[in-house]
């Protein structure tokens, strides 16, 4: 009964809040209509029409959104502005991606061209990347990801840093104070001239994360406060760029440390546990480019060193359950040659060699493994525009890892502009892709399986992109349908042999299909208020179509924790120096059992909308600029679970000041 009354109270409160919101906004809009116009940069949702990108499905996330989310992590950015579903364990906690309904290891992440997925696990923890350290982020959907590398059965995320050659001296400092004893600081110092640029960024983000919640996972149910969920993260990004005639040289170093306490599930009532995860990453890149009128030769050397320490102990029994150290070292070397003999023809060759070394050891369990792997990859690609309205692309990769050779991984793309102004186009892409097992899948003790085959996928996309522009309004969008079939999908589960530990096997054949819709509108109302609305919706049905035993009911059912529906809406209204933004991500229903059972007592994760509202003002005291904003996160105080029995915070507040100087 206690839970019933709690839910009813929350519903009533929300209804009252809705009414208040309506009144508040109505008044606000009347006030805004009276004022003058301000200009805002043009927004483009779908890919730029570069010849190298023709026939590929690429989404660029707008720099405006990067600006707006500067104090957040890439996991929050992707969750709010892209069709990618982010599975997050809570504020500050691990966040993995599901692109087009695939597994976290099927999203490949590149930082300035080098792959930074964990060679052990295959995935990436997006909560470790601050948006502040990124100048450009784009997504390559499905088979289009082969342009960057193989293995992205869902797609790839490309994170880049860029120099600003106009910068003489710039300083930017951002301070955020947030509920639950959270403080974030960001500093950026850049200087240079047209030939040399030097940029340093540092950040710190720490929180006790001790939010209150109602615990309905224990008896008796009770109001409580989240404990052991604090975190502290800090990082440094150093960039140096020079350009001399046809040569461009750059070096980047990214050091990152994160220390997190891991909270227990809501149902936990055991003795005091200490559970922590510490991550340390050092990444470096050296890049040299030689650019002529028709060609570009580029060399990229990269190093990626990661250490992940996981610790769990029971303080009362003074016993350490786990004390594992996972060390990963990856070195990569890549040569690209682009040749553009004509404006309408581009050819590209790329050869990449990587070496990964992994060492895992748990001192408490005295278990671990040491393994390494060499990977070679050769790309040949051609992009051709035979007629102004038709572009074609064909690329293929040949790859070698360990002793496995995969000779031919092709992707074919076509783009057809349906009008002369090139405002709308049809895109088609067909590809074969594969994903090699992670080193844990092969060598983890116990249960790793050295005989695993690579996951093998075929995918197809068809997209229609359009844009419409007049004096008052810009409207653009893209509608994409996709389908992919992945064989030999790797699953960890107990085998029929009866071993008590779980084993990795190529068990499933997965069929993923769906739709992605992206739209964007920019308009000016009454010559006073500029208004932006952006929406994103994705439908991804991902099911196992190869259930073997006759009693297995998982055949044809949605994979667990992957929502069929995901959407997000973003709206911004700006007037003079004031702005108001609302960002609303939606997560659809997720199943937690493979046969998608749903009953009154069996837990299905319910769909939820979150609303984050930000209001702020910019102040100009040339050459200084100040920006102050207040954000209300989870405005409707929605009670939701992103992961089974892990509490999430209700409404909370965040105050940000930004101070910038540019010479």
């Amino acid at each position: 009964m206690k839970s019933k009354s709690k839910i009813l109270t929350t519903t009533h409160f929300k209804a009252i809040l809705c009414c208040l919101m309506v009144l508040f906004y109505a008044e606000d809009i009347v006030a805004q209509k009276l004022n003058d116009t301000i200009s805002i940069q043009e927004v483009q949702v779908f890919g730029k029409k570069k010849i190298e990108e023709s026939g590929l499905l690429i989404t660029h996330i707008d720099t405006m959104q990067l600006q707006m989310m500067k104090t957040l992590t890439v996991s929050e950015l992707l969750s709010s502005y892209s069709p990618i579903f982010i599975k997050s364990y809570g504020r500050g906690s691990t966040a993995s991606a599901s692109f087009r309904g695939t597994a976290p290891s099927h999203t490949q992440v590149y930082w300035n061209g080098i792959k930074i997925n964990s060679p052990m696990r295959g995935d990436v923890d997006f909560s470790l990347f601050p948006v502040y350290f990124i100048d450009d982020i784009s997504l390559q959907h499905g088979g289009s990801s082969l342009q960057s590398g193989s293995g992205a059965l869902g797609g790839s995320v490309l994170i880049n840093n860029k120099p600003d050659w106009t910068d003489r001296l710039s300083i930017r400092y951002v301070q955020t104070i947030e509920s639950y004893a959270t403080a974030k600081e960001y500093l950026n110092v850049g200087f240079g001239n047209g030939k040399f640029q030097f940029k340093t960024r540092v950040f710190s983000d720490r929180s006790k994360n001790n939010f209150p919640y109602f615990n309905y996972g224990v008896l008796p149910m009770r109001e409580t406060t989240q404990t052991n969920a604090g975190y502290s993260k800090m990082g440094l990004l150093q960039e140096v760029y020079t350009r001399l005639a046809k040569h461009t040289f750059s070096a980047k170093l990214w050091a990152h440390q994160s220390n997190r306490d891991l909270p227990q599930l809501m149902s936990f009532e055991g003795d005091t546990r200490v559970e922590t995860q510490d991550d340390q990453n050092i990444r470096g890149i050296i890049n040299w480019k030689y650019i002529t009128e028709k060609s570009k030769l580029e060399w990229v050397g990269g190093v990626n060193l990661n250490e992940l320490n996981y610790f769990r102990s029971s303080t009362e029994a003074s016993f350490v359950n786990f004390d594992s150290r996972s060390k990963e070292k990856s070195f990569s070397n890549q040569i690209n040659f682009d040749w553009k003999p004509r404006e309408t023809l581009s050819l590209n060759w790329s050869f990449n060699t990587s070496y990964h070394q992994v060492s895992v050891f748990d001192r408490a369990q005295q278990l671990g493994y040491d393994q390494d792997r060499i990977e070679l990859s050769l790309l040949n690609s051609i992009h051709w525009q035979p007629k102004p309205q038709v572009s074609l692309s064909f690329l293929f990769r040949s790859e070698l890892y360990d002793s496995q050779l995969i000779e031919f991984i092709p992707s074919i793309g076509m783009e057809y502009f349906t009008d002369k102004k090139q405002q709308s186009s049809l895109k088609l892409n067909l590809a074969r892709n594969y994903h090699q097992p992670g080193l844990n899948d092969l060598y983890w003790i116990p249960g790793g399986n050295p005989d695993l085959k690579p996951e093998d996928g075929y995918s197809g996309d068809l997209a229609f992109a359009f844009s419409k522009k007049n004096k008052k309004m810009t409207f653009s969008g893209q509608l994409t349908g996709f389908a992919s079939l992945i064989e030999n999908w790797i699953v960890w589960q107990p085998s029929a042999g009866g071993a008590y530990y779980w084993e990795a096997n190529n068990l499933r054949k997965v069929f993923a299909r769906g739709v992605e819709i992206q739209t964007s509108v920019h308009t000016t109302i009454a010559n006073a208020v500029s208004f932006d609305l952006r929406g994103n919706y994705s439908h991804a049905a991902t099911s196992n179509i190869d259930a073997v035993p006759s009693v297995d009911e998982s055949r044809g059912k949605q994979l667990i924790y992957i929502p069929k529906h995901k959407a997000n809406l973003f709206a911004e209204a700006a007037f003079k120096n004031y702005y108001l933004k609302i960002n609303a991500p939606f997560t659809g229903k997720r199943y937690t059992s493979s046969n998608n059972v749903e009953s009154d007592y069996e837990k299905v994760l319910n769909p939820y909308w979150l609303f984050n509202l930000t209001g702020g003002r910019r102040f100009e005291f040339k050459p200084f600029r100040v920006d102050a904003s207040l954000s209300i996160e989870n405005l409707a105080n929605t009670d939701y679970m992103a992961i089974l029995w892990r509490p999430m915070p209700g409404r909370y507040y965040s105050l940000t000041f930004q101070f910038s100087y540019k010479k």
């Binding site: 309506v22 224990v218 149910m221 003795d271 029971s314 029994a317 109302i525 035993p549 609302i582 609303f611």
Partner: protein
């Protein structure tokens, strides 16, 4: 701007909609013979559950704890023990024992603050023991007041591994035998009058289950660990130990790569049952492990199959849990003592333990 406002209002109203709360379901199993089935669920999912199967009407009630009490059972329910119309459900990774009325599934109390509890044994009306995978102690509690009253330290400082991890308990006279499974090879002997560890018996690596036969011989099944185990890996085995002298009288070995588990005994305590992909049946007088299984698993693929086993202490009927892919509701098969299938029914995720309710 109106569009913006309309969308915003619609969204907030949608988000304000909440599913209606679920009503409490009242059960009355009093007077019914039946079996409680503990469904482990998945580690760190908090989705374990309790099912009740009425053996006469062949009716199954799933999610009885959640339905009756409105709260989840917790994370990885390990075992259940019934005593004096109370059901003690050990919820391993929630570090607690939930106590229910075994006639109604109504929540009666919690024994909390445990580390990684595994099994319960009732010594008498004021004393029960709880074993633990990590705590290196046996916790003593009073089953009437549900208060923790003491502990028996079982740490082995001489070992580089976490010893002793404690599992199942069996009483013989005033002694309680406890097998130490994880990274271990001992059967501990506890004097239940003094709550003292008095002796230990060395067996093969990783004893996972044990039973006591009618001649007071303790049968111990060992799984031998796994390839790459720092504690070592050997062939699984079966041992026969005299409970009085604590001497090993006979031992059997299985082939490497086999995974025998879940040793059970029939009500007359003269026939052993265990799982090793199939169900095996062996008379206590046998000198050899049988060559043919008693109930054959039809599974030929690399997953699914028999996951848990129990013998009805009154009827000798055999209950077999099948966890399928461990991510969906499992199945329980009920066989007659002769191996004839009587019934099969769906339960929760990963059915792992059974407790028979007499009335």
């Amino acid at each position: 701007m109106k569009v913006f406002l309309t969308i915003l209002i619609c969204l907030i109203i949608f988000s304000a909609c909440k599913e209606n709360p679920v009503d409490t379901v009242f059960f009355d199993f009093s007077g019914n013979r039946g079996v409680y089935i503990v469904n482990e669920g998945n580690f760190m999912y908090g989705n374990s559950s309790l099912s009740f199967y009425d053996t006469d009407s062949k009716r199954v009630y799933n999610q009885v704890f959640q339905a009756r009490n409105g709260a989840p059972l917790g994370d990885v329910a390990q075992s259940i023990a019934i005593w004096n119309n109370l059901g003690f459900v050990v919820v391993n990774n929630s570090g607690k024992i939930y106590v229910i009325d075994s006639r109604t599934a109504e929540f009666k109390g919690t024994i909390s603050g445990l580390s990684s509890p595994r099994h319960i044994h009732f010594v008498h009306s004021q004393k029960a023991y709880v074993t633990d995978l990590y705590a290196r102690k046996i916790t003593i509690f009073d089953p009437q007041t549900l208060q923790i009253t003491g502990k028996i330290p079982v740490g082995n400082s001489k070992s580089e591994f976490n010893q002793h991890s404690t599992e199942q308990l069996i009483s013989y006279k005033n002694l309680v035998f406890i097998n130490c499974w994880s990274y271990d090879n001992k059967i501990l002997v506890i004097n239940s009058d003094t709550d003292q560890l008095i002796d230990s018996i060395e067996v093969f690596k990783q004893p996972n289950s044990m039973v006591l036969d009618k001649e007071n011989k303790l049968w111990v099944l060992t799984d031998g660990g796994f390839e790459g185990n720092p504690y070592g890996y050997e062939q699984p085995g079966l041992l026969k130990i005299d409970a009085e002298t604590r001497e090993v009288e006979r031992s059997f070995r299985f082939a490497r790569g086999e995974h025998p588990l879940n040793l059970c005994i029939n009500p007359t305590r003269d026939t052993l049952y265990f799982l090793n992909r199939h169900v095996w049946k062996m008379a206590t007088g046998e000198k050899r492990i049988p060559e043919q299984p008693f109930i054959e698993s039809k599974y030929t693929s690399s997953y699914g199959g028999f996951y848990s086993l129990a013998i009805d202490p009154e009827t000798s009927e055999i209950y077999l849990g099948d966890a399928i892919d461990h991510r969906q509701n499992g199945l329980v098969y009920r066989y007659s003592r002769n191996g004839k299938l009587i019934d099969e029914f769906k339960v929760g995720i990963s059915p792992g333990d059974f407790a028979f309710k007499k009335d």
